[in-house]
Symmetry: C2
Subunit: 339 residues, 2 copies
């Protein structure tokens, strides 16, 4: 009864480890041709071919890629990661199986086991906000790539947003328009890659334009009223900003409201730039918000292409966050500068 | 060689149609026990059991549900349909395979074929906005349920938002607060279930409270500036509204801006209610927006549970859109009514 043989039996007969057998079953690229042939021969001899895995092995591919996501969606456009992964999979006549998991290791481990049983070609792990992740060891049984997150020990390839360059671009568009007093209301919680990277980008742009960093111009925001109050606080400085860089497009909503309530027009009196390009927000703000694009779609597509490339170099790919120019920035009136 | 037999061979031996064989392979509930047994016997005799489909048939379930979506996401929270479907699938130790398709029939047909080959237990078709859909015939080879859409001939079970009752609730909360002049800026395009249902709910609420319908108070909005102008137009009426019902939370953003620019405070001077409960918008508007919840999650979960229930009644389930009360409605000052 060939069907009763296990991976261990094949490994023993082929004189390889079970990991190698698992990799052959999963069409994993990191197996030498010689070992792959020994495993296939052993499977033949044991009539293992009747098994699901072996059946799929005979065809060009299993057609399935596992897609694990955490459940915290800080911006709804993070689902574009799924769309990017789907499109890249479709290019190769494959589909993705989406499984949502919470953050704890045993649950993730179980979900990976589930996907391995279904003979996925590889696994994408995607986070809904940019962060470090801890993943169980069994994920290494199959090619894996991360999107919008990175592993603690940098042992897996990953695509993350280039937060620093994005924030540099957001700040630069204001500097180029002549603004030198730029209020920056950063995202929280502290020490996230988003908060740190965006602050670095803001500081680097100021430095490149010879503008000293002024801690007074920095605020943080987590909810709308907080952000409204931070905007007011910066407006009440002795030397207030002439422009705002909002940590996210959502926080720009309260900044717009605070500016309207202060009798200030965007962009005539004050310029605003956001971050995320969350279009339901950016296009419903009046004037429409100039912002920086989070590359969700690109990260999902990159991760799938990395999986299927057979290229086993472990890299962290920083994906560009391009500027999306709309109507919320104007050139600083030189009269204002002098006054 | 059992593996070379086709569904047609089994159908011939079992003296049933190929559809019946396909349904047995897919664990479709709409097959009589007697026919199912004949098909299983024929598969046994032909040694068809070695085949992928039959292998999975022996286990309790295939573990897979196909999830087809269109690509137009009008509100990012429509992805909660996927989340609802995932959670309902997980309750039954199953996962969903998500496949995005465009709107044309051949593409959908191909995607369904792809899913059928993978022996899915059933297919969910989900639309990203509430609408009528045309689906190819091959979808009837497997249990199917629709979410956020309905089939032209009402031949498939579906879950849709109860637009009319939702709009009734939004209007009622304003009527209960004493408002009788309620501006309604409806969503477009015309003749969609959302536009028609929301208008009916608005009219029915007015009627129940003895308030005559005034066409002057109706606007439509597709983009932010349009909505801003419609809000201004209604404010300039000889007898202007004291409250607004916004067709979506996103359009409420421009309504808020127009009110601020007119020197009117929400809710002290004018009340606003939205529709969708798109929380990134509703919670970043100041004051936070009272609105009505689109039941995306519930529609996805309902569709999966319907699939797995074995209950073959074709119904269109209207899922409740509950009111979510926040800070944008206040009781109309009686002094204002008199003046």
């Amino acid at each position: 009864m060939g069907n009763n043989y296990t991976i261990k039996d094949i490994a023993k007969r082929a004189q390889v480890g079970t990991t190698t057998v698992s990799r052959v079953l999963n069409n994993h690229p990191y197996v030498s041709d010689e070992k792959r042939q020994r495993v296939l021969n052993a499977m033949d001899e044991l009539n293992y071919r009747q098994n699901l895995g072996a059946k799929w092995l005979r065809s060009a591919s299993t057609g399935l890629i596992g897609f694990l996501t955490d459940e915290v969606a800080t911006t709804p456009y993070a689902v574009d990661i799924i769309r990017g992964a789907q499109d890249a999979a479709a290019e190769n006549d494959m589909v993705i199986i989406v499984v949502s998991v919470g953050g704890d290791l045993p649950e993730i481990e179980e979900a990976i086991e589930f996907l391995l049983e279904r003979q996925v070609m590889g696994i994408i792990y995607a986070a809904m906000y940019h962060r470090e992740v801890h993943l169980p060891d069994n994920i290494t049984n199959v090619p894996t790539a991360l999107a919008n997150c990175f592993s603690v020990d940098a042992s897996l390839p990953s695509a993350v947003p280039d937060e620093e360059t994005g924030a540099y671009r957001a700040t630069k568009v204001l500097l180029e328009a002549g603004h030198t007093r730029i209020g920056f209301i950063n995202v929280i919680p502290p020490s996230t890659p988003a908060m740190n990277g965006r602050l670095r980008g803001y500081q680097r742009a100021l430095s490149d334009y010879g503008i000293p960093f002024d801690e007074q111009l920095i605020g943080t925001s987590d909810f709308a009223l907080h952000n409204y109050n931070e905007t007011q606080r910066l407006l009440n400085l002795k030397n207030p900003p002439t422009a705002f860089f909002s940590g996210t497009d959502r926080t720009a909503m309260a900044t717009y409201a605070a500016l309207r309530d202060a009798g200030l027009r965007v962009p005539e009196d004050i310029s605003v730039v956001g971050f995320d390009n969350q279009i339901d927000v950016a296009l419903n703000l009046l004037p429409n918000l100039t912002t920086v694009q989070l590359p969700h779609y690109e990260m999902g597509a990159w991760a799938v292409r990395k999986l299927l490339s057979g290229d086993n170099e472990i890299i962290q790919e920083k994906i560009d966050c391009p500027l999306v120019e709309r109507q919320s920035v104007s050139v600083l009136d030189s009269v204002n500068i002098q006054s």
